[in-house]
């Protein structure tokens, strides 16, 4: 109360300064972030760079003309004219034209591409794309720009526009919900103000820390979604409680400390649960997940800080004026409807528990046929330039041309020694015979009519390989003791067949004792997903244990936190099942405007679990806090549940509505991952608030009876009584 003005001033100052940093946030964000130590595909890439030199970040400039052939002088001259200013960019370290490398000419003869190799780390290479596009001269040729940096540049552009759209839709929608809940524009404005401040300060801190550590471009959306949702949510709880206290006849001076002591405490514990979930992403080695975890945890801290300092300070200043600018007059305080519902549930607890649990399990069943893989260009909108370019090159050159596997091997006796040639020949022939392979590049992939002995003869006098084709292959695919094969799959890199091909090559390697690493394309995706789901159980365990401990301390109970954690898992399972139906199987894809991938982005369950476990736990925390308050007042278990439901019913529903509103705003996103995060969060919060809170919690509380409050006689941390 005493520090209310300095606190408000500090927050407004922080938010104002943060606004200055906002336009710069995009500049520190990094693409990629999917690499980690010990991943074979990563080691293959590193070995390639050791043996063959730095690759850089390649960008393809594709040229097409319906009439002209690539061998026509007009085509070549026009392509050279377009390419010249692009090749003159400062970070270009090498250019490979289609004249240098005929594999860059499409079979039809009307399309070819040049590759610009940028001396930039793949995580930051996307920053060159705007200038590249700016230098693109109008041409008689159709020109497309493709490659990972272009893909990530489009992701960043869409990500930022998604964010703007989500804010434009989400904030007013949340405000409308809040006005309906509170009936007062002033009361409704406080959560919006706190949510907005949380996001703005959170993004500014992201920019500040981003000077030192890498933050993924996806962190932007997660920070905004979590900041806006939680900031508004927590403030709503506090404003609601404050109004309840005022309605009970308390003065502002009394109501503010009571609000902070009760609702504020619940917010702190709820924040701890959300923070635990997001911080668990730090278990992963991938920068992408670590940065989402760090960014998310940061914004949770800010949201909790805003709810426990900024909001009480505002309430202290406003006092009863919090109800000004009334639009309508809702009932403030307990509502008997929720108590009646709780009592009705508790009259038939077992059938309700079993049927609702079964219902949630059935909702989650689709998750059993989940297929996980990494995203490809289809996560972008069909008109995104990089997706158009990717699909154009795929149609012209074949499925695996842009995402080949590379097999890097070492031969102590020399890569062109007869035994090394024999090993490469056997592997090449086996690959060429495999229906999952479209084309193999390597020293023994010159022509299927050339026998092993002929290859061995061709390469037996390395300083003077007579055959110019063989000489070119040896120069491209070998160094002293190193060789590599380039394998273009005939199947999409994200398909199970491509994954099977990677496994088959590695099995062949092991069976034949080759010193060979498989990287690129499907290998990179497979290794990423495998590592992700090796680490995921550790993250899940961490979340479950810490959440359990936090709730055990809050409720001073052994059984209650266990029940809360299990019920939360059920609601998440239902959300995951829905995601499989929508994003894998394509239900509602027309309504939600996206192209189903046939699989779930492997990041989605991980990020959702980490983000939602705490978020959807909120409502149980708020409900059980009120139940415990009643129980601590000396009520029976059944009465405490009914009273808890009665006291928290309205505010929990309102808070859930606000979060659902914010989350649904993200469903308008163009990037499928963000769309899925928004929808998944909305579903989980809805299930938790509508089904778990209203039906499962009363049923289980009644079934467990006094066991709810059982705790061994330990020295529990002393917490101030909520009442």
């Amino acid at each position: 109360m005493r520090w209310r003005w300095p606190i408000i001033a500090a927050w407004l100052l922080a938010a104002s300064l943060s606004l200055l940093a906002l336009p710069q946030v995009g500049s520190i964000l990094r693409a990629g972030g999917f690499s980690a130590e010990g991943i074979e595909a990563e080691e293959a890439f590193e070995r390639y760079e050791q043996d063959f030199g730095a690759v850089g970040s390649p960008i393809q400039i594709a040229f097409h003309h319906d009439e002209w052939r690539v061998t026509d002088e007009a085509f070549a001259a026009e392509a050279a004219r377009v390419l010249a200013p692009l090749a003159a960019l400062p970070d270009v370290m090498r250019v490979s034209t289609y004249q240098d490398n005929p594999t860059q000419i499409a079979p039809g003869g009307h399309t070819a591409y040049a590759t610009l190799f940028f001396d930039l780390h793949p995580d930051v290479a996307h920053r060159v794309v705007p200038e590249l596009r700016g230098r693109l001269a109008p041409s008689e040729l159709d020109v497309h720009i493709a490659g990972s940096p272009v893909y990530y540049s489009d992701i960043q552009t869409l990500s930022e526009s998604d964010l703007q759209r989500a804010e434009t839709v989400g904030l007013p929608f949340a405000l409308i919900v809040l006005v309906l809940v509170f009936g007062s524009v002033v009361a409704a404005g406080i959560p919006v103000l706190a949510g907005g401040a949380s996001v703005v300060v959170g993004l500014a801190l992201l920019w500040l820390f981003g000077q030192q550590v890498g933050f993924s471009i996806f962190a932007l959306n997660v920070v905004t979604l979590v900041g806006l949702g939680l900031g508004a949510d927590y403030s709503l709880i506090l404003v609601s409680r404050f109004r309840e206290e005022l309605a009970a006849g308390r003065t502002t001076e009394d109501a503010v400390p009571r609000t902070v002591g009760t609702a504020g405490k619940a917010v702190v514990f709820s924040g701890a649960a959300v923070l635990t979930g997001l911080a668990s992403l730090m278990v992963f080695e991938f920068m992408m997940l670590r940065s989402i975890g760090a960014g998310g945890a940061l914004v949770v801290l800010i949201a909790v800080a805003a709810a426990t300092t900024f909001v009480p300070a505002l309430l202290a200043v406003l006092g009863p004026r919090v109800n000004r600018w009334r639009v309508w007059r809702p009932r403030v305080g307990p509502q008997n409807g929720w108590a009646r519902l709780a009592r009705a549930v508790m009259r038939r607890p077992l059938p309700i528990f079993l049927s609702v649990s079964l219902f949630l399990v059935v909702l989650g069943l689709p998750f059993l046929h989940v297929r996980l893989n990494a995203p490809d260009a289809r996560v972008l909108t069909p008109d995104s330039p990089s997706r158009v370019a990717y699909e154009f090159l795929r149609d012209e050159f074949g499925e695996g041309h842009q995402t080949p596997l590379f097999l890097v091997s070492r031969y102590p006796g020399g890569a062109l020694a007869p035994d090394a040639v024999a090993a490469q020949h056997a592997l090449t022939r086996a690959l060429e015979a495999d229906p999952r392979v479209a084309r193999v590049g390597g020293i023994t992939a010159l022509d299927p009519r050339i026998t092993l002995e002929q290859y061995q003869l061709l390469y037996s006098y390395a300083p003077g390989i007579g055959d110019p084709w063989a000489r070119a292959l040896a120069e491209t695919f070998t160094r002293e003791n190193a060789a590599f094969l380039l394998v273009e799959p005939s199947v999409p890199s994200t398909s199970p067949e491509a994954e099977g091909l990677v496994e088959a090559i590695r099995a062949y390697r092991d069976a034949n004792g080759l010193d060979l690493l498989v990287g690129g394309g499907a290998a990179g995706l497979k290794d990423f997903v495998d590592r992700l789901y090796t680490d995921f159980p550790k993250a899940v365990l961490l979340i479950l244990v810490i959440t359990y401990v936090v709730l055990a301390v809050l409720f001073r109970s052994v059984v209650l936190p266990l029940k809360a954690v299990l019920l939360n898992v059920l609601s998440l399972l239902a959300s995951f099942g829905a995601l499989v139906l929508v994003f894998q199987d394509g239900w509602l894809s027309n309504v939600l405007r996206f192209e189903p991938l046939g699989y779930i982005d492997s990041l989605l369950p991980v990020v959702l679990f980490a983000m939602l476990f705490g978020l959807s736990m909120d409502y149980e925390v708020f409900l059980l806090s009120r139940v415990k308050e009643a129980h601590d007042e000396g009520r029976s278990n059944t009465e405490s549940v009914a009273i808890g439901m009665e006291r928290s019913g309205r505010v929990v529903t309102s808070a859930a509505l606000v979060v659902i509103a914010v989350c649904l705003a993200f469903v308008t996103a163009d990037i499928v991952l963000i769309k899925a995060l928004g929808l998944g969060a909305a579903i989980a919060v809805f299930v938790d608030a509508a089904i778990v809170r209203a039906l499962l919690v009363p049923a289980t509380m009644h079934l467990l009876g006094r066991w709810n409050w059982w705790a061994p006689s330990l020295r529990w941390p002393r917490l101030r009584r909520a009442t």
Partner: protein, 349 residues
Amino acid sequence: MIRRALCLALATVLLAACGAVAPPLLDAPTDRFDASSLPPIELPRDDAPHANLTEWWYVSGHLQTAEGDPFGFEFALFQSIRGAAPPGYAAHFAVTDIGRQRFHYGERTEVADPYAGPSGQPAGLDLSVEGWTLRDVPGGFSISAGLDTVALQVELIPTKPAAIHNETGILDFSPFGWSYYYSYTRAAVRGVLLDQGLPRPVTGTAWIDHQWGDFISVTSGGWDWYSVHLDDGRDFTASVVRDETGATVLRYGTLVGPAGETRHLRADELEVRATGSWTSPHTGVVYPSGWTISVPDEGLRLRLEPFLRDQELDTRASTGVVYWEGAVHVSGDGGETGLGYVELTGYRP
């Protein structure tokens, strides 16, 4: 009941696991060359290019101007086809100015335009490498090639039927591969030699070799090739193929009578001996120089001497090799006289 359900569940899991195993990579079968599977040579159809790994047309001969000035010439055109890549061509052209004791040579390369024609292969023989051409004309062939100081445009009209080497026309020189091989051993030459800017009508006699198949030309081994036009109307050729150690892996020859009748010469019917050597001042490569070739059954013992020692071609830019190919004069123990050409590949400093 429970046990049965568990068994069923276990079986389902095992089946699902079996279905999830990716098909392994299988070792591809090894193909072995079988000469009997190849069709016989059919001319003139087979004068035209084929789609095999390697193919070449070699024309060499001796010319005389109206004033009686002697010249030797060589024109070779190579075609290589590797996988799906468009055919690659190289051509070598050399003129030995015997009177002035000068040797001129050059090389050119070209990759075919893969989209030039609907079929990809021209009908008949009509090849061009950056302007140097080899074409079929009624009754024979024509070549056209030029260097800075010398150019040649002539027609070649075979005066004997093609000699099919090794009886079947098929050579198995494993491990290098196999090839078809025939020669128009004697062709009348008529045309124009542009000598230092001066067009000079020329006539003469040429030897046309055509070889194609799935073989590779490697730098680790090599061969010596000899062709002789005897003044009595007989033609003779011999080839000695060496592996990377220098050991002879194949030796054969063909004797063609005045009317075109051929006799295949086996390795044991043929003796080839170098009588001297020459070290290239350009590359340091040491070549044999001067030879004695004997066919005892025929009572033939020929001596071959180069008109010019330095007839070395450094064609590393086009075909990756340095070789010697030059005009020789021929004399025999039985009073035979004639002209010839010798090619030596695979020699190193």
